[in-house]
Symmetry: C2
Subunit: 230 residues, 2 copies
C-alpha cells in the first residue's frame, strides 16, 4: 500500500475546504473571533506557548496566525516582548471614527452616483436581513449577537459597494474591524435606535439623495463614536 495519504477524496470532496484548511488559518480565525468577542482584554498578552498547547498545535502555527492578526490590526507586537491585544485610547477611537466618516461619505456618494439595479437589490436585501435580525440572542444578553454584527457589516458594506472599487472596500473593511474591536470594549452608552437610523439611511440612499445619505451616515458614525467615548 502506498505510504501517501489521500484522505477522503472520494467520500467528502465538498469538505475539502474545511478539512484541508491550513492549521494556521484555523488558529487565525479562532483567535480573531475570540479577540473580537472581547475574550482578551486590551493590552492582554497573547502567549504563543499557552495558545499553542490549548489549541493543540505547535508554536509556528500560532506565531503565523498572530502575524496575520497584526497585519489586520488585531494584535500588536513588541520586540522580544511578544504579542498582545492592541489597546485603543479614546483619542484613537475618535480618529478611527473620523477616518470612517471621511472615507465612507465619499464612497457612499460614489455608490449613489454609480450603483446599478443589482446594487440596489443588495442594499434592500441586506437591510432586510439586518432589520429581521435581533440585536441580542436572548433579551437579557449583555452582548450583541454575532448574527446582528454580521448583518450590520453586510448592510454598511452593501451601501458602499456600489462604488465598484475593491481597493476602497478593502480599506473600509479594515477600518470596520478596528471599530468592532472598540465597540466590544465599550458596550455601554445609551441604547441606540439602530432600526430607525438604518432605515433612514437606506431610504435616502435608494432615493439617490447623496447629500442626505452622506449626512445620515456621518451622524450614524458620530453617534457610534460618542457612545464609546462617553
Amino acid at each position: 500500500m502506498s505510504r501517501y495519504y489521500r484522505g477522503m477524496s472520494r467520500d467528502a470532496p465538498e469538505k475539502r475546504s474545511t478539512s484541508k484548511q491550513m492549521r494556521s488559518a484555523t488558529v487565525y480565525s479562532t483567535l480573531r473571533t475570540q479577540i473580537l468577542h472581547g475574550e482578551f482584554g486590551p493590552s492582554e498578552p497573547l502567549k504563543p506557548q499557552q495558545l499553542a498547547s490549548s489549541m493543540g498545535v505547535s508554536l509556528s502555527v500560532v506565531r503565523e496566525a498572530l502575524q496575520q492578526l497584526i497585519g489586520e490590526g488585531l494584535a500588536d507586537r513588541h520586540a522580544n516582548r511578544g504579542f498582545s491585544v492592541p489597546a485603543f485610547s479614546d483619542l484613537r477611537w475618535q480618529q478611527i471614527a473620523e477616518a470612517r466618516r471621511t472615507l465612507e461619505s465619499s464612497m457612499l456618494r460614489m455608490s449613489i452616483e454609480r450603483g446599478d439595479v443589482e446594487w440596489e437589490a443588495r442594499v434592500r436585501g441586506s437591510h432586510h436581513r439586518l432589520y429581521r435580525t435581533p440585536l441580542r440572542a436572548a433579551t437579557d444578553d449583555p452582548y450583541i449577537s454575532d448574527e446582528w454584527a454580521s448583518a450590520h457589516h453586510a448592510f454598511h458594506r452593501a451601501l458602499l459597494d456600489g462604488c465598484g472599487n475593491p481597493v476602497l472596500l478593502e480599506t473600509f473593511d479594515r477600518l470596520w474591524t478596528a471599530s468592532e474591536l472598540a465597540r466590544r470594549w465599550a458596550e455601554r452608552g445609551p441604547v441606540r435606535d439602530y432600526v430607525t437610523e438604518h432605515s433612514r439611511l437606506e431610504e435616502a440612499t435608494l432615493a439617490r439623495d447623496a447629500d442626505a445619505a452622506a449626512d445620515l451616515l456621518g451622524q450614524h458614525l458620530t453617534l457610534t463614536a460618542a457612545a464609546l467615548s462617553s
Copy 2:
C-alpha cells in the same frame, strides 16, 4: 565565567537598535526593498528555502518576514502553493489610483482647513528637499533614485499630515506602497514635469486654496495612473 551573554552593554549601547534587531525584521526590510526595487517580477514565487539559504537564516524567519509583507500588500499567499510577489492588473492599478484620489483629496482639504504653522513648515521643507533631489542618481540611470522616491513620499505625506489623523495617514501610506510597486513595474510612459506639478501643488496648498489644491492633486494622481496603463 557566567554562561549568560551580556554583550556590548558597555561598549556600544547605542548600537542596540541595530545589532539587536530581530532577524525577521532584517529579512523583512531586505525583502521589502528588493520587491519595491522590482528585483522580482510580478507573480514571481518567493521561495522560503531559497531565500533562507541565500540570507543565511532559517525558514521560520523568512516565513515570518513574508507574513509581514502580506500584511502590507507586498506579497501574496496561495494555500499549499507558497508565497509570491503580487501581480497587479491594469484595472487594479486604476482602482488604486481612484482610491488615492478619493482619500487624498479629502485629506488635503482637511489639512488645508486645520494645518498650523508647523504643518506649513513641513510642507515647505519637504518640497524643498524634493526639489533639490535629482530624479535619477546618474543621468542615464533607467530607474528613479531611492532618494527621490523617499523625498516624493515625504512631500505628499507632508501635504496630508496637517489633517492630524494618524489613521488616515496610515491608510495613505498603505495605498502609497501599492502605488510604488506599480510604478516600478511600469516605468515607461512620457516624462513627467514633476517639478512644476509639485510646485503648483505646494503653492495652492499653502495659499489655502482647497479647491485648486484638491484639483491639482487629483490631476497629479490621474497622470500617474495614465502613465501606467498606457
